[in-house]
Amino acid sequence: MSTAAFDLAANRRTVRPQGVRAFITDTLVLTRRNLLVSLRTPQLVVAAAIMPVMFVLLFRYVFGGSIHVAGYPSYVDFLIPGIIVQTSLFGGSSSAVSVAEDLSKGVTDRFRSLPTQRGAILTARTLADLVRLTYTTGLMIAIGLLVGFRFHNSLPPILGGIGIALLFGYACSWLFTLLGLVVRNVEAATLLAFVVTFPLVFAASTFTSTETMPGWLRTFANGQPVTHVINALRALTQGTGSAEGPVLYALAWSVGILVISATLATRRFRTV
Protein backbone atom coordinates (compact mmCIF):
# COMPACT_ATOMS: atom_id res chain seq x y z
CA MET A 1 0.00 0.00 0.00
CA SER A 2 1.39 3.37 -0.96
CA THR A 3 0.91 5.58 2.05
CA ALA A 4 3.67 8.19 1.92
CA ALA A 5 1.36 10.96 0.78
CA PHE A 6 -1.05 10.37 3.63
CA ASP A 7 1.65 10.07 6.23
CA LEU A 8 2.67 13.57 5.23
CA ALA A 9 -0.89 14.74 5.46
CA ALA A 10 -1.23 13.16 8.86
CA ASN A 11 1.99 14.61 10.18
CA ARG A 12 1.12 18.10 9.14
CA ARG A 13 -1.75 18.00 11.55
CA THR A 14 -1.02 18.70 15.15
CA VAL A 15 -1.44 15.28 16.63
CA ARG A 16 -2.29 15.58 20.26
CA PRO A 17 0.59 14.94 22.66
CA GLN A 18 -0.24 12.15 25.10
CA GLY A 19 1.81 12.99 28.16
CA VAL A 20 1.00 13.49 31.82
CA ARG A 21 -0.24 17.00 31.10
CA ALA A 22 -2.83 15.77 28.61
CA PHE A 23 -3.91 13.20 31.19
CA ILE A 24 -4.36 15.84 33.87
CA THR A 25 -6.20 18.26 31.58
CA ASP A 26 -8.52 15.53 30.29
CA THR A 27 -9.19 14.29 33.81
CA LEU A 28 -10.08 17.77 35.04
CA VAL A 29 -12.25 18.57 32.00
CA LEU A 30 -14.15 15.30 32.38
CA THR A 31 -14.45 15.53 36.16
CA ARG A 32 -16.04 18.94 35.68
CA ARG A 33 -18.44 17.45 33.14
CA ASN A 34 -19.43 14.63 35.50
CA LEU A 35 -20.00 17.04 38.38
CA LEU A 36 -22.02 19.40 36.19
CA VAL A 37 -24.21 16.53 35.05
CA SER A 38 -24.95 15.44 38.61
CA LEU A 39 -25.40 19.00 39.88
CA ARG A 40 -28.00 19.55 37.19
CA THR A 41 -29.82 16.36 38.02
CA PRO A 42 -31.38 17.63 41.27
CA GLN A 43 -32.94 14.22 41.97
CA LEU A 44 -29.41 12.84 42.27
CA VAL A 45 -28.14 15.51 44.62
CA VAL A 46 -31.21 15.32 46.81
CA ALA A 47 -31.35 11.52 46.75
CA ALA A 48 -27.69 11.33 47.75
CA ALA A 49 -28.51 13.35 50.86
CA ILE A 50 -32.03 12.35 51.71
CA MET A 51 -31.53 8.62 52.25
CA PRO A 52 -28.73 8.92 54.80
CA VAL A 53 -30.62 11.71 56.57
CA MET A 54 -33.64 9.42 56.86
CA PHE A 55 -31.41 6.70 58.30
CA VAL A 56 -29.95 9.13 60.82
CA LEU A 57 -33.41 10.25 61.96
CA LEU A 58 -34.79 6.71 61.96
CA PHE A 59 -32.01 5.19 64.03
CA ARG A 60 -31.44 8.22 66.23
CA TYR A 61 -35.06 8.75 67.23
CA VAL A 62 -37.07 5.61 66.36
CA PHE A 63 -34.82 2.58 67.04
CA GLY A 64 -31.98 4.28 68.88
CA GLY A 65 -33.68 4.31 72.24
CA SER A 66 -33.76 0.52 72.41
CA ILE A 67 -30.27 -0.13 71.01
CA HIS A 68 -27.50 -0.26 73.59
CA VAL A 69 -23.92 -0.84 72.58
CA ALA A 70 -21.30 -1.53 75.24
CA GLY A 71 -18.77 1.33 75.51
CA TYR A 72 -21.14 3.89 73.95
CA PRO A 73 -23.23 5.66 76.55
CA SER A 74 -24.74 7.72 73.74
CA TYR A 75 -25.96 5.64 70.76
CA VAL A 76 -25.65 8.55 68.35
CA ASP A 77 -21.85 8.47 68.73
CA PHE A 78 -21.96 4.85 67.61
CA LEU A 79 -24.43 5.53 64.81
CA ILE A 80 -22.91 8.42 62.86
CA PRO A 81 -19.64 6.67 61.86
CA GLY A 82 -21.76 3.78 60.56
CA ILE A 83 -23.94 6.15 58.56
CA ILE A 84 -20.89 7.86 57.07
CA VAL A 85 -19.49 4.59 55.73
CA GLN A 86 -22.91 3.45 54.56
CA THR A 87 -23.15 6.69 52.59
CA SER A 88 -19.74 6.08 50.98
CA LEU A 89 -20.83 2.67 49.81
CA PHE A 90 -24.18 3.87 48.45
CA GLY A 91 -22.45 6.82 46.80
CA GLY A 92 -19.92 4.56 45.11
CA SER A 93 -22.64 2.20 43.94
CA SER A 94 -24.24 4.97 41.86
CA SER A 95 -21.11 4.78 39.69
CA ALA A 96 -22.26 1.45 38.27
CA VAL A 97 -25.42 3.12 37.01
CA SER A 98 -23.71 6.20 35.55
CA VAL A 99 -21.09 4.07 33.79
CA ALA A 100 -23.77 1.84 32.27
CA GLU A 101 -25.75 4.89 31.22
CA ASP A 102 -22.81 6.51 29.43
CA LEU A 103 -22.08 3.20 27.70
CA SER A 104 -25.61 2.61 26.47
CA LYS A 105 -26.12 6.23 25.37
CA GLY A 106 -22.98 6.18 23.24
CA VAL A 107 -21.30 8.90 25.32
CA THR A 108 -18.45 6.55 26.13
CA ASP A 109 -17.98 5.71 22.45
CA ARG A 110 -17.75 9.39 21.67
CA PHE A 111 -15.13 10.00 24.36
CA ARG A 112 -13.13 6.95 23.33
CA SER A 113 -13.10 8.04 19.69
CA LEU A 114 -11.42 11.32 20.65
CA PRO A 115 -7.67 11.74 21.09
CA THR A 116 -8.32 11.68 24.83
CA GLN A 117 -6.37 9.73 27.40
CA ARG A 118 -8.62 6.74 27.98
CA GLY A 119 -7.43 6.36 31.55
CA ALA A 120 -8.67 9.90 32.16
CA ILE A 121 -12.25 8.92 31.37
CA LEU A 122 -12.51 6.46 34.27
CA THR A 123 -10.31 8.48 36.60
CA ALA A 124 -12.57 11.49 36.10
CA ARG A 125 -15.61 9.35 36.80
CA THR A 126 -14.25 8.23 40.19
CA LEU A 127 -12.84 11.66 41.07
CA ALA A 128 -16.27 13.20 40.57
CA ASP A 129 -17.60 10.49 42.89
CA LEU A 130 -15.00 11.44 45.46
CA VAL A 131 -16.06 15.09 45.33
CA ARG A 132 -19.69 14.09 45.81
CA LEU A 133 -18.66 11.75 48.60
CA THR A 134 -16.80 14.50 50.43
CA TYR A 135 -19.93 16.63 50.22
CA THR A 136 -22.23 13.91 51.62
CA THR A 137 -19.73 13.01 54.35
CA GLY A 138 -19.58 16.65 55.42
CA LEU A 139 -23.35 16.77 55.35
CA MET A 140 -23.63 13.64 57.52
CA ILE A 141 -21.22 15.05 60.09
CA ALA A 142 -23.17 18.32 60.19
CA ILE A 143 -26.47 16.50 60.64
CA GLY A 144 -24.87 14.22 63.21
CA LEU A 145 -23.71 17.23 65.21
CA LEU A 146 -27.24 18.62 65.06
CA VAL A 147 -28.75 15.46 66.54
CA GLY A 148 -26.19 15.15 69.31
CA PHE A 149 -23.16 13.39 67.81
CA ARG A 150 -19.80 14.47 69.30
CA PHE A 151 -16.17 13.72 68.50
CA HIS A 152 -14.23 12.39 71.48
CA ASN A 153 -10.68 12.51 70.21
CA SER A 154 -8.05 14.96 68.99
CA LEU A 155 -8.12 16.38 65.49
CA PRO A 156 -5.40 14.25 63.76
CA PRO A 157 -7.05 10.85 64.42
CA ILE A 158 -10.45 12.33 63.55
CA LEU A 159 -9.15 13.54 60.19
CA GLY A 160 -7.39 10.21 59.72
CA GLY A 161 -10.66 8.39 60.31
CA ILE A 162 -12.54 10.55 57.80
CA GLY A 163 -9.69 10.03 55.34
CA ILE A 164 -10.02 6.25 55.67
CA ALA A 165 -13.78 6.46 55.11
CA LEU A 166 -13.23 8.55 51.96
CA LEU A 167 -10.52 6.18 50.72
CA PHE A 168 -12.90 3.28 51.15
CA GLY A 169 -15.63 5.17 49.28
CA TYR A 170 -13.18 5.95 46.48
CA ALA A 171 -12.21 2.28 46.24
CA CYS A 172 -15.91 1.35 46.08
CA SER A 173 -16.42 3.82 43.29
CA TRP A 174 -13.79 1.92 41.23
CA LEU A 175 -15.39 -1.38 42.18
CA PHE A 176 -18.79 -0.20 40.96
CA THR A 177 -17.25 1.36 37.86
CA LEU A 178 -15.95 -2.10 37.06
CA LEU A 179 -19.37 -3.65 37.67
CA GLY A 180 -21.00 -1.03 35.44
CA LEU A 181 -18.53 -1.81 32.65
CA VAL A 182 -19.28 -5.51 32.96
CA VAL A 183 -23.08 -5.39 32.98
CA ARG A 184 -23.38 -2.36 30.63
CA ASN A 185 -27.11 -2.06 31.09
CA VAL A 186 -28.71 0.54 33.36
CA GLU A 187 -31.39 -1.66 34.91
CA ALA A 188 -29.00 -4.51 35.59
CA ALA A 189 -26.49 -2.08 37.09
CA THR A 190 -29.14 -0.62 39.41
CA LEU A 191 -30.12 -4.06 40.62
CA LEU A 192 -26.55 -5.24 41.00
CA ALA A 193 -25.57 -2.13 42.96
CA PHE A 194 -28.40 -2.84 45.37
CA VAL A 195 -27.66 -6.55 45.69
CA VAL A 196 -23.99 -5.89 46.45
CA THR A 197 -24.42 -2.98 48.86
CA PHE A 198 -27.33 -4.29 50.89
CA PRO A 199 -25.65 -7.22 52.72
CA LEU A 200 -22.41 -5.28 53.07
CA VAL A 201 -24.16 -2.41 54.82
CA PHE A 202 -26.62 -4.35 56.97
CA ALA A 203 -24.59 -7.46 57.84
CA ALA A 204 -22.02 -5.21 59.48
CA SER A 205 -21.46 -3.14 62.58
CA THR A 206 -23.27 -0.21 60.92
CA PHE A 207 -26.25 0.08 63.26
CA THR A 208 -25.46 -2.22 66.12
CA SER A 209 -22.69 -4.35 67.54
CA THR A 210 -22.11 -7.64 65.70
CA GLU A 211 -21.98 -9.42 69.08
CA THR A 212 -25.70 -10.21 69.15
CA MET A 213 -25.80 -11.70 65.63
CA PRO A 214 -26.01 -15.49 65.13
CA GLY A 215 -22.62 -17.14 64.67
CA TRP A 216 -22.58 -17.54 60.89
CA LEU A 217 -23.70 -13.95 60.35
CA ARG A 218 -21.22 -12.62 62.90
CA THR A 219 -18.40 -14.40 61.11
CA PHE A 220 -19.35 -12.73 57.84
CA ALA A 221 -19.97 -9.34 59.46
CA ASN A 222 -16.70 -9.29 61.35
CA GLY A 223 -14.69 -10.33 58.30
CA GLN A 224 -16.06 -8.00 55.68
CA PRO A 225 -14.58 -4.59 54.86
CA VAL A 226 -17.49 -2.34 55.86
CA THR A 227 -17.26 -3.47 59.50
CA HIS A 228 -13.50 -2.87 59.56
CA VAL A 229 -13.83 0.60 58.07
CA ILE A 230 -16.63 1.57 60.45
CA ASN A 231 -14.72 0.21 63.45
CA ALA A 232 -11.65 2.18 62.38
CA LEU A 233 -13.70 5.35 62.01
CA ARG A 234 -15.35 4.81 65.40
CA ALA A 235 -12.08 4.13 67.14
CA LEU A 236 -10.47 7.21 65.60
CA THR A 237 -13.36 9.61 66.21
CA GLN A 238 -14.42 8.31 69.62
CA GLY A 239 -11.13 7.18 71.11
CA THR A 240 -12.78 3.87 72.04
CA GLY A 241 -10.48 0.87 72.21
CA SER A 242 -7.38 0.28 70.14
CA ALA A 243 -7.54 1.75 66.65
CA GLU A 244 -4.53 -0.07 65.22
CA GLY A 245 -6.17 -3.37 64.22
CA PRO A 246 -9.28 -1.96 62.52
CA VAL A 247 -7.23 0.78 60.80
CA LEU A 248 -4.82 -1.76 59.31
CA TYR A 249 -7.66 -3.98 58.10
CA ALA A 250 -9.59 -1.00 56.74
CA LEU A 251 -6.55 0.27 54.83
CA ALA A 252 -5.68 -3.18 53.48
CA TRP A 253 -9.23 -3.76 52.25
CA SER A 254 -9.55 -0.29 50.73
CA VAL A 255 -6.21 -0.38 48.94
CA GLY A 256 -6.84 -3.95 47.80
CA ILE A 257 -10.28 -3.15 46.37
CA LEU A 258 -8.92 0.03 44.78
CA VAL A 259 -5.92 -1.56 43.07
CA ILE A 260 -7.73 -4.66 41.83
CA SER A 261 -10.86 -2.82 40.66
CA ALA A 262 -8.93 0.00 38.97
CA THR A 263 -6.70 -2.48 37.14
CA LEU A 264 -9.57 -4.67 35.97
CA ALA A 265 -11.76 -1.69 35.06
CA THR A 266 -8.99 -0.08 33.00
CA ARG A 267 -8.37 -3.35 31.19
CA ARG A 268 -12.06 -3.90 30.61
CA PHE A 269 -12.45 -0.36 29.30
CA ARG A 270 -10.13 -1.07 26.38
CA THR A 271 -12.58 -3.54 24.89
CA VAL A 272 -16.04 -2.27 25.87
Binding site: V29, V37, R40, R110, S113, P115
Partner: protein, 328 residues
Protein backbone atom coordinates in the same frame (compact mmCIF):
# COMPACT_ATOMS: atom_id res chain seq x y z
CA UNK B 1 -8.70 3.46 -8.60
CA UNK B 2 -5.07 4.45 -8.21
CA UNK B 3 -3.33 2.88 -5.27
CA UNK B 4 -2.22 6.16 -3.74
CA UNK B 5 -5.78 7.33 -3.51
CA UNK B 6 -6.99 4.71 -1.09
CA UNK B 7 -7.59 6.83 1.97
CA UNK B 8 -9.47 4.24 3.95
CA UNK B 9 -8.60 0.58 3.46
CA UNK B 10 -10.31 -2.38 5.06
CA UNK B 11 -8.72 -5.75 4.37
CA UNK B 12 -10.11 -9.10 5.40
CA UNK B 13 -11.67 -7.84 8.62
CA UNK B 14 -13.36 -10.40 10.82
CA UNK B 15 -15.02 -9.86 14.18
CA UNK B 16 -17.01 -12.22 16.36
CA UNK B 17 -18.91 -11.67 19.59
CA UNK B 18 -19.00 -15.04 21.27
CA UNK B 19 -20.57 -17.34 18.73
CA UNK B 20 -22.02 -14.51 16.61
CA UNK B 21 -19.84 -13.64 13.67
CA UNK B 22 -20.59 -9.96 13.08
CA UNK B 23 -18.00 -9.50 10.32
CA UNK B 24 -16.93 -12.43 8.16
CA UNK B 25 -14.11 -10.97 6.07
CA UNK B 26 -14.79 -7.43 4.86
CA UNK B 27 -12.75 -5.64 2.19
CA UNK B 28 -13.36 -1.99 1.36
CA UNK B 29 -11.60 1.02 -0.07
CA UNK B 30 -12.53 4.68 0.08
CA UNK B 31 -10.82 7.34 -2.00
CA UNK B 32 -9.88 10.63 -0.42
CA UNK B 33 -12.63 13.22 -0.61
CA UNK B 34 -15.34 10.75 -1.56
CA UNK B 35 -18.34 9.29 0.21
CA UNK B 36 -18.77 5.60 0.81
CA UNK B 37 -22.25 4.44 1.71
CA UNK B 38 -22.30 1.22 3.67
CA UNK B 39 -25.72 -0.17 3.01
CA UNK B 40 -27.25 -2.99 4.98
CA UNK B 41 -30.17 -4.06 7.09
CA UNK B 42 -30.34 -4.26 10.84
CA UNK B 43 -27.78 -6.72 12.14
CA UNK B 44 -25.75 -6.78 8.90
CA UNK B 45 -22.59 -5.68 10.73
CA UNK B 46 -22.50 -1.96 9.95
CA UNK B 47 -22.03 -0.72 13.49
CA UNK B 48 -19.37 -3.29 14.20
CA UNK B 49 -17.34 -2.21 11.17
CA UNK B 50 -17.77 1.46 11.93
CA UNK B 51 -16.67 0.98 15.54
CA UNK B 52 -13.54 -0.77 14.32
CA UNK B 53 -12.81 2.18 12.01
CA UNK B 54 -13.32 4.58 14.92
CA UNK B 55 -10.73 2.65 17.01
CA UNK B 56 -13.40 1.57 19.49
CA UNK B 57 -13.08 -2.11 18.74
CA UNK B 58 -10.14 -4.19 17.55
CA UNK B 59 -10.74 -6.63 14.68
CA UNK B 60 -10.09 -10.32 15.33
CA UNK B 61 -8.44 -10.63 11.93
CA UNK B 62 -7.50 -8.36 9.05
CA UNK B 63 -6.35 -4.77 9.01
CA UNK B 64 -7.85 -1.31 8.71
CA UNK B 65 -5.95 1.79 7.66
CA UNK B 66 -6.96 5.43 7.64
CA UNK B 67 -4.61 7.83 5.85
CA UNK B 68 -2.03 5.08 5.85
CA UNK B 69 -2.24 4.64 9.61
CA UNK B 70 -3.19 1.30 11.10
CA UNK B 71 -6.23 1.89 13.33
CA UNK B 72 -5.00 -0.55 15.96
CA UNK B 73 -1.30 0.25 16.16
CA UNK B 74 -1.60 3.99 15.50
CA UNK B 75 -4.96 4.43 17.20
CA UNK B 76 -4.05 7.70 18.91
CA UNK B 77 -2.99 9.33 15.68
CA UNK B 78 -6.07 8.03 13.91
CA UNK B 79 -8.28 9.57 16.61
CA UNK B 80 -6.86 13.01 15.81
CA UNK B 81 -7.89 12.56 12.18
CA UNK B 82 -11.41 11.26 12.52
CA UNK B 83 -14.76 12.52 13.64
CA UNK B 84 -17.23 9.90 14.80
CA UNK B 85 -21.00 10.19 15.12
CA UNK B 86 -22.42 6.98 16.52
CA UNK B 87 -25.77 5.36 15.96
CA UNK B 88 -27.38 7.19 18.89
CA UNK B 89 -26.99 10.91 19.51
CA UNK B 90 -24.31 10.88 22.21
CA UNK B 91 -24.89 14.29 23.71
CA UNK B 92 -25.42 15.14 27.37
CA UNK B 93 -28.98 16.20 28.00
CA UNK B 94 -28.14 18.11 31.14
CA UNK B 95 -25.50 20.23 29.40
CA UNK B 96 -26.23 23.02 26.95
CA UNK B 97 -25.44 22.64 23.27
CA UNK B 98 -22.43 24.89 23.64
CA UNK B 99 -21.13 23.04 26.70
CA UNK B 100 -21.36 19.74 24.83
CA UNK B 101 -19.30 21.07 21.93
CA UNK B 102 -16.75 22.80 24.14
CA UNK B 103 -16.25 19.59 26.06
CA UNK B 104 -15.46 17.70 22.87
CA UNK B 105 -13.13 20.49 21.76
CA UNK B 106 -11.23 20.32 25.03
CA UNK B 107 -10.93 16.55 24.66
CA UNK B 108 -9.43 17.06 21.20
CA UNK B 109 -6.74 18.99 23.08
CA UNK B 110 -7.89 22.48 22.13
CA UNK B 111 -7.30 25.36 24.53
CA UNK B 112 -10.34 26.73 26.32
CA UNK B 113 -10.33 29.74 24.00
CA UNK B 114 -10.09 27.69 20.83
CA UNK B 115 -12.72 25.21 22.03
CA UNK B 116 -15.10 28.09 22.63
CA UNK B 117 -14.37 29.53 19.22
CA UNK B 118 -14.87 26.20 17.43
CA UNK B 119 -18.11 25.58 19.31
CA UNK B 120 -19.41 28.93 18.09
CA UNK B 121 -18.39 28.11 14.56
CA UNK B 122 -20.09 24.72 14.60
CA UNK B 123 -23.24 26.06 16.26
CA UNK B 124 -23.52 28.66 13.53
CA UNK B 125 -22.99 26.16 10.72
CA UNK B 126 -25.68 23.91 12.10
CA UNK B 127 -28.08 26.80 12.78
CA UNK B 128 -28.08 26.04 16.49
CA UNK B 129 -26.85 29.43 17.67
CA UNK B 130 -30.30 30.35 18.97
CA UNK B 131 -30.48 27.22 21.09
CA UNK B 132 -26.80 27.20 22.04
CA UNK B 133 -27.30 28.02 25.70
CA UNK B 134 -30.32 25.84 26.25
CA UNK B 135 -29.99 22.41 27.78
CA UNK B 136 -30.02 19.65 25.20
CA UNK B 137 -32.87 18.01 27.10
CA UNK B 138 -35.14 20.67 25.57
CA UNK B 139 -33.96 20.00 21.98
CA UNK B 140 -36.00 18.19 19.34
CA UNK B 141 -34.71 14.90 17.92
CA UNK B 142 -33.46 16.63 14.79
CA UNK B 143 -31.60 19.28 16.78
CA UNK B 144 -29.93 16.62 18.90
CA UNK B 145 -28.80 14.75 15.84
CA UNK B 146 -27.40 17.96 14.38
CA UNK B 147 -25.59 18.74 17.61
CA UNK B 148 -24.20 15.23 17.68
CA UNK B 149 -22.92 15.64 14.14
CA UNK B 150 -21.56 19.02 15.20
CA UNK B 151 -19.64 17.37 18.01
CA UNK B 152 -17.87 15.17 15.48
CA UNK B 153 -16.88 18.30 13.52
CA UNK B 154 -15.30 20.27 16.36
CA UNK B 155 -11.91 18.70 15.70
CA UNK B 156 -12.14 19.55 11.98
CA UNK B 157 -11.68 15.89 11.02
CA UNK B 158 -10.39 14.78 7.63
CA UNK B 159 -12.44 11.64 7.87
CA UNK B 160 -15.99 11.61 9.13
CA UNK B 161 -17.55 8.33 10.19
CA UNK B 162 -21.29 8.32 10.71
CA UNK B 163 -23.44 5.42 11.79
CA UNK B 164 -27.00 5.74 10.46
CA UNK B 165 -26.98 9.54 10.67
CA UNK B 166 -30.60 10.00 9.59
CA UNK B 167 -32.34 6.98 11.10
CA UNK B 168 -35.39 8.14 13.01
CA UNK B 169 -35.43 11.65 11.58
CA UNK B 170 -38.44 13.18 9.89
CA UNK B 171 -38.13 13.68 6.11
CA UNK B 172 -37.53 17.41 6.30
CA UNK B 173 -34.72 17.11 8.85
CA UNK B 174 -33.23 14.30 6.81
CA UNK B 175 -33.07 16.49 3.71
CA UNK B 176 -31.45 19.28 5.74
CA UNK B 177 -28.85 16.88 7.00
CA UNK B 178 -28.15 15.60 3.49
CA UNK B 179 -27.55 19.15 2.30
CA UNK B 180 -25.15 19.66 5.17
CA UNK B 181 -23.28 16.45 4.42
CA UNK B 182 -22.96 17.57 0.79
CA UNK B 183 -21.36 20.76 2.00
CA UNK B 184 -18.81 18.86 4.08
CA UNK B 185 -17.91 16.68 1.13
CA UNK B 186 -17.43 19.72 -1.09
CA UNK B 187 -14.91 20.95 1.46
CA UNK B 188 -12.91 17.77 0.97
CA UNK B 189 -13.93 15.63 3.94
CA UNK B 190 -13.76 11.91 3.31
CA UNK B 191 -16.94 10.34 4.52
CA UNK B 192 -18.03 6.86 5.44
CA UNK B 193 -21.65 6.53 6.43
CA UNK B 194 -23.90 3.60 7.07
CA UNK B 195 -27.54 3.53 6.16
CA UNK B 196 -30.52 1.26 5.81
CA UNK B 197 -31.98 3.54 3.19
CA UNK B 198 -31.16 2.99 -0.45
CA UNK B 199 -32.43 6.41 -1.30
CA UNK B 200 -29.91 7.90 1.09
CA UNK B 201 -27.00 5.92 -0.29
CA UNK B 202 -28.03 6.82 -3.83
CA UNK B 203 -28.33 10.48 -2.92
CA UNK B 204 -25.09 10.88 -0.92
CA UNK B 205 -22.61 8.21 -1.83
CA UNK B 206 -20.02 8.13 -4.61
CA UNK B 207 -19.68 4.44 -4.02
CA UNK B 208 -21.80 1.94 -2.21
CA UNK B 209 -20.91 -1.27 -0.45
CA UNK B 210 -23.80 -3.56 0.30
CA UNK B 211 -23.19 -5.49 3.48
CA UNK B 212 -25.15 -8.55 4.49
CA UNK B 213 -24.33 -10.99 7.31
CA UNK B 214 -20.91 -9.51 7.83
CA UNK B 215 -19.86 -9.67 4.18
CA UNK B 216 -19.72 -7.13 1.38
CA UNK B 217 -21.96 -8.73 -1.22
CA UNK B 218 -21.66 -5.95 -3.80
CA UNK B 219 -19.70 -2.74 -4.26
CA UNK B 220 -19.51 0.00 -6.85
CA UNK B 221 -21.01 3.32 -7.83
CA UNK B 222 -24.80 3.58 -7.66
CA UNK B 223 -24.87 3.44 -11.48
CA UNK B 224 -22.59 0.41 -11.64
CA UNK B 225 -24.81 -1.41 -9.21
CA UNK B 226 -27.86 -0.57 -11.25
CA UNK B 227 -26.15 -1.77 -14.44
CA UNK B 228 -25.08 -4.93 -12.72
CA UNK B 229 -28.72 -5.66 -12.27
CA UNK B 230 -29.00 -5.54 -16.08
CA UNK B 231 -32.01 -4.72 -18.21
CA UNK B 232 -35.27 -3.27 -17.03
CA UNK B 233 -38.02 -4.08 -14.61
CA UNK B 234 -41.63 -4.95 -15.18
CA UNK B 235 -43.66 -3.79 -12.23
CA UNK B 236 -47.19 -4.76 -11.28
CA UNK B 237 -49.19 -3.24 -8.46
CA UNK B 238 -51.96 -5.44 -7.12
CA UNK B 239 -55.29 -4.00 -6.06
CA UNK B 240 -55.54 -6.43 -3.15
CA UNK B 241 -52.52 -7.13 -0.98
CA UNK B 242 -53.57 -10.80 -0.80
CA UNK B 243 -52.88 -11.19 -4.51
CA UNK B 244 -49.17 -10.33 -4.25
CA UNK B 245 -48.06 -13.90 -3.57
CA UNK B 246 -50.28 -15.17 -6.39
CA UNK B 247 -48.70 -12.71 -8.80
CA UNK B 248 -45.24 -13.94 -7.84
CA UNK B 249 -46.19 -17.51 -8.73
CA UNK B 250 -47.94 -16.37 -11.86
CA UNK B 251 -45.04 -14.34 -13.27
CA UNK B 252 -42.38 -16.90 -12.41
CA UNK B 253 -40.30 -17.83 -15.45
CA UNK B 254 -41.31 -14.87 -17.57
CA UNK B 255 -38.37 -12.56 -16.87
CA UNK B 256 -34.60 -12.90 -16.75
CA UNK B 257 -34.81 -13.64 -13.02
CA UNK B 258 -37.36 -14.64 -10.42
CA UNK B 259 -40.13 -12.14 -9.58
CA UNK B 260 -39.83 -10.32 -6.29
CA UNK B 261 -42.58 -9.07 -4.02
CA UNK B 262 -42.70 -5.87 -2.03
CA UNK B 263 -45.51 -6.66 0.39
CA UNK B 264 -45.76 -3.19 1.81
CA UNK B 265 -45.99 -1.54 -1.59
CA UNK B 266 -48.27 -4.35 -2.85
CA UNK B 267 -45.93 -4.62 -5.82
CA UNK B 268 -44.23 -7.39 -7.72
CA UNK B 269 -41.15 -6.61 -9.79
CA UNK B 270 -39.69 -8.78 -12.50
CA UNK B 271 -36.26 -8.24 -14.09
CA UNK B 272 -36.23 -8.50 -17.86
CA UNK B 273 -33.99 -8.10 -20.87
CA UNK B 274 -36.85 -7.78 -23.37
CA UNK B 275 -39.11 -5.01 -22.21
CA UNK B 276 -42.14 -5.29 -24.48
CA UNK B 277 -42.18 -9.03 -24.81
CA UNK B 278 -42.18 -9.59 -21.05
CA UNK B 279 -44.71 -6.85 -20.47
CA UNK B 280 -47.18 -8.33 -22.93
CA UNK B 281 -46.69 -11.85 -21.62
CA UNK B 282 -47.24 -10.64 -18.07
CA UNK B 283 -50.36 -8.75 -19.10
CA UNK B 284 -51.80 -11.85 -20.78
CA UNK B 285 -51.19 -14.07 -17.79
CA UNK B 286 -52.66 -11.55 -15.36
CA UNK B 287 -55.76 -11.19 -17.48
CA UNK B 288 -56.20 -14.94 -17.84
CA UNK B 289 -55.88 -15.40 -14.08
CA UNK B 290 -58.40 -12.63 -13.48
CA UNK B 291 -56.29 -10.79 -10.92
CA UNK B 292 -57.18 -7.15 -10.46
CA UNK B 293 -54.18 -4.81 -10.78
CA UNK B 294 -53.88 -1.03 -10.38
CA UNK B 295 -50.77 -0.55 -12.43
CA UNK B 296 -48.54 -2.40 -14.86
CA UNK B 297 -45.46 -1.02 -16.59
CA UNK B 298 -41.79 -1.19 -17.50
CA UNK B 299 -39.16 1.03 -15.88
CA UNK B 300 -35.42 1.36 -15.29
CA UNK B 301 -34.20 -0.57 -12.21
CA UNK B 302 -33.85 1.32 -8.93
CA UNK B 303 -31.34 0.62 -6.19
CA UNK B 304 -34.14 -1.10 -4.34
CA UNK B 305 -34.32 -3.68 -7.10
CA UNK B 306 -30.57 -4.15 -6.92
CA UNK B 307 -30.65 -4.61 -3.19
CA UNK B 308 -33.53 -7.02 -3.42
CA UNK B 309 -31.90 -9.16 -6.05
CA UNK B 310 -28.58 -9.15 -4.16
CA UNK B 311 -30.01 -10.10 -0.82
CA UNK B 312 -32.26 -12.62 -2.47
CA UNK B 313 -29.23 -14.57 -3.60
CA UNK B 314 -27.90 -14.77 -0.06
CA UNK B 315 -31.19 -15.36 1.71
CA UNK B 316 -32.95 -17.92 -0.43
CA UNK B 317 -35.32 -18.96 2.34
CA UNK B 318 -37.07 -15.58 2.41
CA UNK B 319 -36.80 -14.19 -1.09
CA UNK B 320 -39.94 -12.16 -1.20
CA UNK B 321 -39.64 -9.69 1.66
CA UNK B 322 -38.13 -6.34 0.82
CA UNK B 323 -35.52 -4.77 3.05
CA UNK B 324 -37.84 -1.83 3.57
CA UNK B 325 -40.45 -4.10 5.06
CA UNK B 326 -37.94 -6.15 7.02
CA UNK B 327 -36.19 -3.24 8.68
CA UNK B 328 -39.15 -0.99 9.38
Amino acid sequence: MSASNRFITVEGVEKSFGSTQALAGVDLEVEQGTVLGLLGRNGAGKTTLVRILATLLAPDKGSVGIAGLDVVRRARMVRSLIGFAGQFAAVDETLTGRENLELVGRLYGLSRFLAHHRADEVLQRLSLTQAADRRVGTYSGGMRRRLDLGASLVGRPEVLIMDEPTTGLDPRTRIELWAFIDELVREGTTLLLTTQYLEEADRLADSIAVIERGRVIAAGSPDQLKQRFGGDVVEVRATNPTDVERLVTLLNGLGSGPPMADLRGQRVTLPTGERVHTLLAAARRIEEAGISVDDLGVRRPSLDDVFLSLTQQTTPQRPTITPAAATA
